[in-house]
């Protein structure tokens, strides 16, 4: 007997401030105007997606001491856009990336609880951490956090936010006009938190929201990040979009859940994925090559090589061979404000490997970056892409995908129009929303449901 088909979860990542997003295409619109967000969100909702996803970056990227100008630059405030999108959508989940380093739990908890009320239970929080003094220069706090403390702060931040969300049970507001009792409990919202990073107490001032707490995402991939996700997250925004890597990650993370008394279905794994569709697989492959060339201009190729070489390579010809000088190994990096820089742990070895690759394939600098960089996850006809996605999910390499189109705001439209109907026909993706909250879409229980009904027995008795 074969196991039942898993239902796929799909989300839409608003195109980001990196070279995946092609701004030079004639179809590319504004990354700031609200109309772009409305188009994108309404397309996702039309396709019955689980949620929309917004990334965050709190300082403009720099390279070689100057603001990086080759990619899309600029984005709106996450909470403010999501609240406005709640007005033009009905069911779509609204996920915001919010940093735990340059915010305070009381304020962030208020904002998420408010967003959850204002969207009737559709909010989610992708918790990210950072420690860099570079970003800290934009904040009162500055870059105060030692790198090794970032996860401990993130964990405590999230735990503290949960204490704030839970400081209202949900039954405190009586609002009895006849008797004049507004609050059933004079101490509604009372909290005390004493920890390494936060020592706060008082009264939280947003009553319990429809989802109780926002859905929590985690995006880190380190050992600490995986453990953090297993202990505290509802979903992981992961990087592994190939079958083998995806399955290994999936197995690893899901196996950690038991330690925290959690079931495998209480943590969803959703990798980011890009796609290029064509009428045929061959047409899609050609389009994909074209998109890669748009994504990696000669100037962009040089800048990407500089991430590894950590030195000014502006004198090199992007259509010529790779530099014969070695990378500069230093704590000081030429690029600031980018997460991916940390991925190059041994730049000298990578440079050696890349030179060999380029020589063997007769690649220029630009060819190398095009071929070793972020190639599209799914390339093919709608039928091929639908099949690949379904195979991936049924093989437990993920529970679905967070799709990142390369064109704003219309890049999701072909997926919505051509791939989603095929997944629906196969019975692996919803034809309509069954519930109203994001927890409903993701199959996650309400936080109060663990103990049966609304209020936990201990609380009811106290």
């Amino acid at each position: 007997m074969s196991k039942p088909l898993k239902q796929i979860h799909l989300a839409a990542h608003f195109p980001g401030v990196n070279n995946t997003t092609v701004w030079s295409d004639p179809a590319a619109g504004s990354h700031i105007e609200f109309s772009s967000f409305v188009h994108f969100a309404q397309t996702a909702e039309r396709a019955k997606f689980d949620f929309l996803f917004l990334a965050e970056g709190l300082r403009l990227r720099e390279q070689g001491g100057q603001i990086y100008d080759l990619d899309v630059v600029g984005r709106p405030d996450t909470f403010t856009v999501l609240a406005a999108l709640a007005a033009v959508t009905d069911r779509l989940g609204l996920t915001g990336t919010i940093n735990s380093t340059f915010n305070e739990p009381y304020e962030v908890a208020r904002q998420f609880a408010s967003l959850d009320h204002l969207s009737d239970g559709r909010s989610a929080w992708n918790v990210v951490t950072s420690w860099d003094a570079f970003t800290g220069e934009n904040f009162r706090r500055g870059g105060f956090l030692p790198q090794e403390e970032r996860y401990s702060r993130a964990k405590e931040f999230l735990a503290t936010a949960h204490e704030l969300f839970d400081s209202w049970r949900g039954d405190e507001i009586l609002a009895d006009q006849a008797t004049g009792t507004f609050l059933r409990d004079a101490r509604a919202g009372a909290f005390v938190h004493q920890g390494q990073h936060f020592d706060i107490h008082g009264r939280f001032n947003v009553p319990r929201s429809p989802q109780g707490r926002p859905v929590v995402f985690q995006a880190g991939d380190s050992e600490e990040g995986r453990e953090f996700a297993a202990s505290s997250a509802d979903a992981i925004f992961s990087r592994y979009s190939t079958l083998k890597e995806g399955q290994a990650f999936y197995t690893d993370v899901k196996s950690r859940l038991a330690r925290y008394g959690r079931r495998p279905d209480q943590l969803l794994i959703l990798p980011a994925a890009t796609f290029v569709l064509g009428d045929t697989d061959q047409e899609a492959a050609e389009l994909a090559r074209e998109v890669r060339r748009q994504q990696v201009s000669g100037a962009t190729a040089i800048k990407h090589l500089e991430f590894v070489w950590n030195r000014d390579l502006s004198a090199y010809d992007p259509d010529g061979p790779l530099p014969d000088v070695d990378p500069v190994v230093s704590e000081e990096h030429i690029s600031r404000g980018r997460a991916q820089v940390r991925m190059y742990r041994d730049p000298v070895a990578i440079a050696r490997e890349w030179r060999q690759l380029a020589e063997a394939n007769k690649w220029s600098i630009r060819d190398l970056v095009i071929n070793t960089g972020n190639r599209q996850t799914f390339v093919g006809s709608p039928a091929t892409v639908a099949q690949t996605i379904n195979d991936f999910v049924q093989a437990d390499a993920s529970d679905g995908f967070i799709l990142v189109p390369h064109i704003t705001p219309g890049g999701l439209d072909p997926f919505a129009d051509k791939v989603v109907p095929l997944l629906q026909e196969q019975g692996v993706f919803r034809s309509d929303y069954e519930g109203t909250t994001l927890r409903d879409h993701l199959g996650l229980a309400h936080p109060d449901a663990d103990t049966g009904t609304g209020t936990s027995p201990e609380r009811a008795a106290s």
């Binding site: 701004w23 009381y106 208020r110 967003l115 204002l118 009737d120 001032n205």
Partner: protein, 400 residues
């Protein structure tokens, strides 16, 4: 030119829960159970827009409401709890077209970088209708919600210690607003170039570090959000004495003040104008609005009876920092005209009961003022600055 009619008045409404009277939630029209829904706020702000009002402000705070000035209380007979005001404004923005949206922002515990991009984004989602109302907080319990600083425990606003503390918090607020404003200008309007020939998305010479360094914080910039549609969204502040008047004079586009009568209004306006000149802003438009709590009915007797009924429900007579008006729309129009004679260019009305007094403002007071040629018949501008006669300002960082 003695025949010139007096300038039209500007009108705003201050929204706070079910209304400003602590017993307002007990009125049948109040909808207290809807307070935490988008529909409640959409209905109120749509009503204000129906009356062609310049804007609404939305109250906010970083702790529960309280009947005490410097501490929380444990009362259960009044509305407690509220949603984030910026997010309410943003949630309602796509559902309205012309009315300005001015949420309260607390400067004491928040990051100016976050506030600047939030209000810039509100300006984008509302197509140029955003502003903010600056608030400071002296409450030690609110400081304890953040745990990063203590604020001195005050018993009142008088005395040298209190004055020193007030000066400190308002100086910080002025710096906060300065950073917010610089960040709004940190992108020139034409910084996004999408130049295919050079592969550059932006012209980085048109992005600017703000390099603010002050006593309380320093911020490098530029913002992550491009310059908002209005260039500079509206900055407003409520002020009751010299120190906050100075903040209004230095940083605001509108100050809300609480005059007892026309002479008092005249004295306040004179003080603000003197501070404005001292701050080097003499040539700039700075509106001074009078704040009034209003209870409006068809007759004065009816309005007074309602006020008595509310006071009885509350268990004590309602008092306010602002003058409380109780009467008819025509009487209120008379009062507004009289106060305007003291130099006020508009008013921010605080409905005692939002569900009752807001529609009275939009459906009774507004037509009355229109008959007197003292209020607009149609929205004459697409942005909030435009409604207030403010031009789109030049960018401070742009080469002249």
């Amino acid at each position: 030119m003695s025949s010139t009619s007096p300038a039209p008045l500007h009108l705003a409404v201050a929204l706070d829960g079910t209304g400003w009277h602590p017993a307002s939630w007990r009125e049948p029209v109040a909808r207290p159970r809807d307070l935490f829904t988008a529909g409640y706020w959409t209905d109120l702000i749509t009503e204000a827009e129906r009356g062609l009002l310049d804007f609404v402000t939305i109250e906010d705070g970083l702790g529960p409401q309280s009947s005490l000035p410097f501490a929380p209380d444990e009362r259960t007979d009044q509305v407690r709890g509220r949603l984030d005001a910026v997010l309410i404004a943003s949630r309602v923005a796509p559902l309205t077209r012309r009315i300005g949206l001015v949420p309260t922002v607390v400067t004491t515990h928040t990051e100016p970088f976050h506030i600047s991009k939030a209000i810039a984004t509100l300006d984008y989602v509302s197509a140029g209708r955003a502003g903010l109302r600056v608030r400071t907080t002296f409450r030690p319990d609110e400081a304890a919600h953040f745990g990063r600083r203590t604020v001195p425990r005050l018993d009142g606003f008088d005395g040298p210690d209190a004055q020193e503390a007030i000066t400190e918090l308002f100086d910080e607020a002025a710096d906060h607003v300065e950073v917010v404003r610089r960040l709004w200008d940190s992108w020139e309007d034409d910084a996004e170039i999408r130049d295919a020939a050079t592969g550059r998305f932006i012209d980085r010479d048109k992005l600017h570090y703000i390099d603010f360094e002050g006593r309380f914080f320093s911020v490098r910039g530029p913002s992550i959000t491009p310059r908002p549609p209005q260039g500079q969204p509206l900055v407003t502040a409520l002020a009751h004495q010299t120190v906050p008047y100075r903040l209004v004079a230095r940083q605001a586009d509108i100050g809300y003040v609480t005059p007892r009568d026309a002479d008092h209004a005249r004295a306040i306006v004179a003080e603000i104008r003197a501070e404005q000149e001292a701050a080097g802003r003499a040539g700039e438009t700075l509106h001074v609005f009078g704040d009034l709590v209003v209870l409006l009915d068809d007759s004065q007797a009816e309005a007074e009876a309602r006020r008595d009924r509310l006071d009885t429900l509350a268990g004590e007579p309602y008092t306010s920092d602002a003058r409380i008006f109780t009467g008819t729309a025509a009487q209120l129009a008379d009062l507004l005209e009289e106060l305007a004679g003291g130099g006020l260019s508009g008013f921010r009305l605080r409905p005692a009961v939002a569900g009752h007094d807001l529609p009275r403002i939009t459906r009774d007071l507004v037509p009355e003022l229109q008959r007197r040629r003292r209020f607009r018949d149609v929205y004459e501008a697409g942005t909030l600055r435009g409604l207030l006669g403010l031009t789109r300002p030049a960018n401070r960082y742009a080469a002249a």
